[in-house]
Assembly symmetry: D2
Homo-oligomer: 151 residues x 4
């Protein structure tokens, strides 16, 4: 049975930090929009690390790949070269075969919210076939969540 956990109010955000690289800007003088998705991944990986799950290890030791099936980003204000940004990330839903993440991108200097995003992922083996998230990881992603409810 697939159980869903919707820890909307409970699972905390983790902050990861990036500094905007020159390569990430475009001729508008701001960051090119596709690069935010790269930062969201930095946020996701650091959140997992903080929860005790090293993604590199998940892939190599557990044949557990967290594959992106949907990405959504809203751009409120432009990030610019050399700015320090905080990528705030949290698990928004954790099922046995999928995980959803929520993100906020903040400019550190003036605490402005630059972008928000969500990504949805399924768990796959190296062969690309869906599989269950190993139990040990599922616990990590939902440790502070309320009692699970049916999906």
């Amino acid at each position: 049975m697939t159980t869903a956990r919707k820890p909307e109010t409970s699972l905390p955000f983790l902050d990861a930090t990036v500094r905007v690289r020159y390569a990430e800007t475009d001729q508008m003088g701001v960051v090119y929009h596709a690069n935010y998705l790269v930062w969201l991944e930095v946020g996701r990986v650091e959140l997992m690390r903080s929860l005790g799950a090293e993604y590199k290890q998940m892939e190599t030791a557990d044949d557990c790949h967290i594959v992106v099936v949907e990405a959504h980003c809203r751009y409120h204000k432009s990030a610019r070269y050399d700015e320090v940004l905080r990528i705030r990330t949290r698990v928004s839903e954790a099922h046995s075969r999928s995980i959803h993440f929520q993100y906020e991108v903040w400019r550190d200097a003036d605490n402005q919210l630059l972008a928000t995003g969500e990504t949805k992922h399924v768990i796959c083996g190296k062969d690309g076939r869906p599989k269950h998230l190993p139990e040990k990881y599922r616990d990590l992603f939902t440790t502070t969540a309320p009692p699970c409810e049916p999906a």
Copy 2:
């Protein structure tokens, strides 16, 4: 007054072609998901060119920048190295200050749908301030659309 045009059934898709570059793959052996947004832009620019609007010219001659405010992509099947893809793009909504585009990414060899996406844009000057899309371009984006209705 802002008028909206919802040419859902009428405005045609344009096909642009890209071939997957090695740089666009990741260690899963497939294309890294953020690169699809770069292709959507290729599709968008080629659609505009086919409609008579060269985007480079829009920026330099008309101070008209089509800035991404929202991007959404769903990944159905993986694109792989060296595959030829068709980026199908059409205008889904054209307002006086904003344009929405819809996309489909197809693998050419076996005609499989790999991804779908939408992007929303506002028109801005170089200074980042919103402005109206110059009239000449608005006509181009909606020539085959049904009579406009209130937004």
Copy 3:
């Protein structure tokens, strides 16, 4: 015995075409320099294809990876958004375990030379260990070259 072929004057350049993407520009208003290396690869792959060697096939069917061990690029003039570029590529040296390529990047509109480059590669298996280029490919890379000489 390793034999070297130095077809300096004989092996022809092949032209591949790319159009500069918005994502490839930076806030200077020109193409970010690292992206030229991505184009050199486009040139290299298309040269190989024209010679009868599909690189994708080389990797998957022959476990033959052409790994970059050195890259050098000189930037003469800036490439800009939406410009059509010709990436001219040729084999400059072909040994049994390594291949060198030479490149020129030309702007198509006014036939200006924008950049020149060289890359050096060794042949490796998936395991990263150096190996000989399979005989069938070596012939392809040197078909129009003068008689081989000792390295």
Copy 4:
């Protein structure tokens, strides 16, 4: 008169740190080679910052752009996903109109040298025309260098 400073033995390296992103890997399972040039720039910018020159400020306040005219990289060992790397950077030559940098990329975990590189730059205004490096910056880049000699 142009004076050259060749501080080979005197100007120290500065270490900047990057962690390899998933986006930077390719289907060989290692980092795509063009991404090293992006890291070299991270090293360059952090070196300048440590010397008292914020590059963002150089561009906006002093119309002083350090444009890449040549880049050279040798790849010794592969960088892999999630590895922490030290980008060691120093000024190798500082002239009135040009600066050269040297780089080493080290894997932090086992202190292995992965790559070495050099980049050459000219000083330009926003208009792309060469200009002299403002005096205040020239001093910074050569503070610990031996007495200058003619170029």
